[in-house]
Symmetry: C2
Subunit: 400 residues, 2 copies
């Protein structure tokens, strides 16, 4: 057993050996939230030609006075001829500007009479024309590799003429809850037992962050049961266990995994809630062993599992996003462990205020559920007064 690690060291050691999943091709319509494996290049110019930015008339700025309207060209129906001296073509937003014309006369600045149109305002060369390739040109990088595709990126890929996306496969994350005392929701509860909640919350987190959860049957508190479950997940990208991660007589995750012949690390991390954490590898499958306590398990998952899911999907190794807030209350000086205080968030005078719950007991799942954020307290941080600037991890934004 090594000495107490900091949260940052532990995260670095968990993330370092992880490799992004390989590529797969998905239809663009299903690519939302997936992470690209390669640059996406524009396959055409946008706009594809000089086009009108408004409804109006294409004409020559050198001419003067009334012009003869020689045709009309809605978007998608380009005018076949060209605009000569004293001529104009009726255009609409997105219509190609016909050859010969060099400006657009807005329809609200024109008087139309039969086949004649006369400007009521002066025209000037180049007005209201969007130039070919103004948004992007063939070969431009529209989306960089390692980008999580949001709705706008999906639109941009479509505009660049992509019907498919090359993305990292969803990491398969096996989730193993251990313990004689836990039962699935709705199933008979053994005497002295409780209902399993960690596996289901973790599965939802994995889904929220782009992974594919694989919830294993609950393993009894025997080495054999844990070893057998571990053997069943070869090929998964990550195995997450909850419970039995300490070193008590009944903490069998370590010896159970060890029976599979794999080298495992075991750490105590200088953090609260949570402390013992198993990390290591079972063949190609990375392993993170979380505490059984629901709040500890979920806070550790925010700090270590979410970043691991990002790295497995081809995103950079990074801590969960931290925001600034003001402290709504006072805090005593912290001890040697990094603390993660469950807190409510509210907006006051446009500023985000985070107020810690009075009860921080790590068994209080309901308090975690009501929390909008975790207040970050560094080891040995000093006491703080109300209104102090603090760092928080916003849980609401993470979908967890």
């Amino acid at each position: 057993m090594s000495a107490m690690l900091s949260v940052e060291e532990a995260r670095a050691r968990i993330l370092a050996p992880l490799r992004p999943t390989a590529a797969e091709i998905v239809p663009l319509a299903e690519a939302w939230s997936r992470v690209t494996t390669a640059p996406v290049l524009a396959r055409l110019d946008q706009p594809p030609a000089d086009v009108s930015a408004m409804d109006g008339y294409a004409l020559r700025s050198v001419d003067a006075g009334s012009r003869r309207v020689i045709g009309s060209a809605p978007a998608g129906h380009p005018f076949a001829g060209s605009v000569g001296p004293g001529e104009a073509v009726r255009l609409f937003t997105g219509s190609f500007v016909p050859e010969g014309a060099d400006t657009i006369l807005l329809q609200e600045n024109a008087t139309r009479l039969e086949d004649e149109v006369e400007p009521t305002e002066p025209v000037r060369e180049g007005l209201h024309i969007r130039r070919r390739g103004q948004d992007f040109a063939v070969g431009d990088i529209l989306v960089a590799p390692g980008t999580r595709l949001d709705a706008r990126a999906v639109g941009l890929m479509a505009a660049g003429n992509h019907a498919w996306a090359s993305v990292h496969r969803r990491p398969v994350v096996a989730i193993l809850a251990t313990g004689d005392e836990i039962a699935l929701p709705g199933d008979p509860i053994p005497p002295g037992g409780i209902v399993s909640s960690n596996a289901h919350a973790l599965a939802a987190m994995v889904r929220a962050r782009g992974g594919q959860p694989l919830v294993l049957p609950i393993a009894a508190d025997t080495r054999e049961a844990i070893a057998s479950a571990a053997a069943s997940v070869r090929g998964a990208d990550l195995l997450v266990t909850t419970g039995g991660a300490s070193v008590g007589d009944h903490d069998l995750v370590q010896p159970g995994l060890a029976e599979q012949g794999f080298v495992l690390d075991f750490w105590k991390i200088a953090m609260r809630p949570g402390k013992p954490l198993i990390a290591g590898r079972l063949g190609d499958t990375a392993v993170i062993g979380l505490p059984g306590n629901p709040v500890s398990a979920l806070v550790c998952a925010v700090l270590f599992l979410l970043p691991a899911l990002d790295v497995l999907q081809g995103l950079p190794a990074a801590p969960p996003p931290v925001s600034r807030a003001r402290l709504g209350g006072r805090l005593a000086a912290n001890d040697h462990r990094a603390d993660h205080l469950r807190a409510t968030l509210h907006i006051q005078d446009g500023v985000t205020v985070a107020t810690p719950f009075p009860r921080q007991d790590s068994s209080m799942l309901r308090v975690l559920n009501q929390a909008g954020a975790l207040i970050l307290r560094a080891p040995h941080a000093g006491a703080l007064d109300e209104g102090a600037e603090i760092d928080v991890i916003r849980l609401d934004i993470l979908g967890i």
Copy 2:
């Protein structure tokens, strides 16, 4: 045609007639991000009895000195007897506290010798015991109706012994792109044509916000094609059209929908980008007609479609979330239209800085894609210097 509406009025008029979808039952494992229709009540006490918060020994605080260890009770295996004078029972985190015992002696504060255990620190009544129902008690409301279920709420429902969730059905949102000039990505592009991007970006937004997109075939610029598409979506909760929403000769969405005999509103909204917006109802299907311009369509979707999706899922009617930021650059005074400037976001000295792109042309999809936020500029807002406090809509958080 009515006078120019404000963004707020337009949103209120779009949202007012919307009704949440009915309930469906989904397995808890698939309930993440869905919105509850009813309160979720705890079906048991948590913890189910007084339990030990640590590994140690249950004993009586009135006794003194060494105790005889009469048994051991791992979590899930409650001790059958009771603890009498001078007795102790070995416990672990989560073990039920046996009858007779009133405190937990931590194992690190105990000397164990054969069947005897002696405290090395004084014990005090009630220490290290989590009381029955301390987290929640039978009948407590764990999750309120109208809550979007995050991973923690899924965990809490599991802990409360729920295997199923009653949630609002995913609103079905039909998406209709119109225009002779547009083609699906990868399909042959007609002369003067471009590739359809709005429908795919909107479908991703609908998916991101919990709806079920239904992308219709592209409708040609004829009343008949639009009317026929409209007739095909009876039963959808919402129809979103893009393109042809203005009043030009080739803007046929209004007359096309009108052929189905339905009353439609048409508004000009005092906003930029975007201005014309169609709203109304086709029988039970609400209709929002967005501009064809990609940036206008997506900005209007953020302002009107996302809130509509929320209301259809049983969430309160609300504008998209607004955050504070500092202005990175200067802004001229605004005209009479609410503006939504595409801007980058970066953090400087812990403060979020939003810097508008120099080019705000509403055809620039690539600029929208690179934007982290929309800077909100109220009608007639005055000029601003660098560093001014501004309101932004963070696009990165919305997953769009």
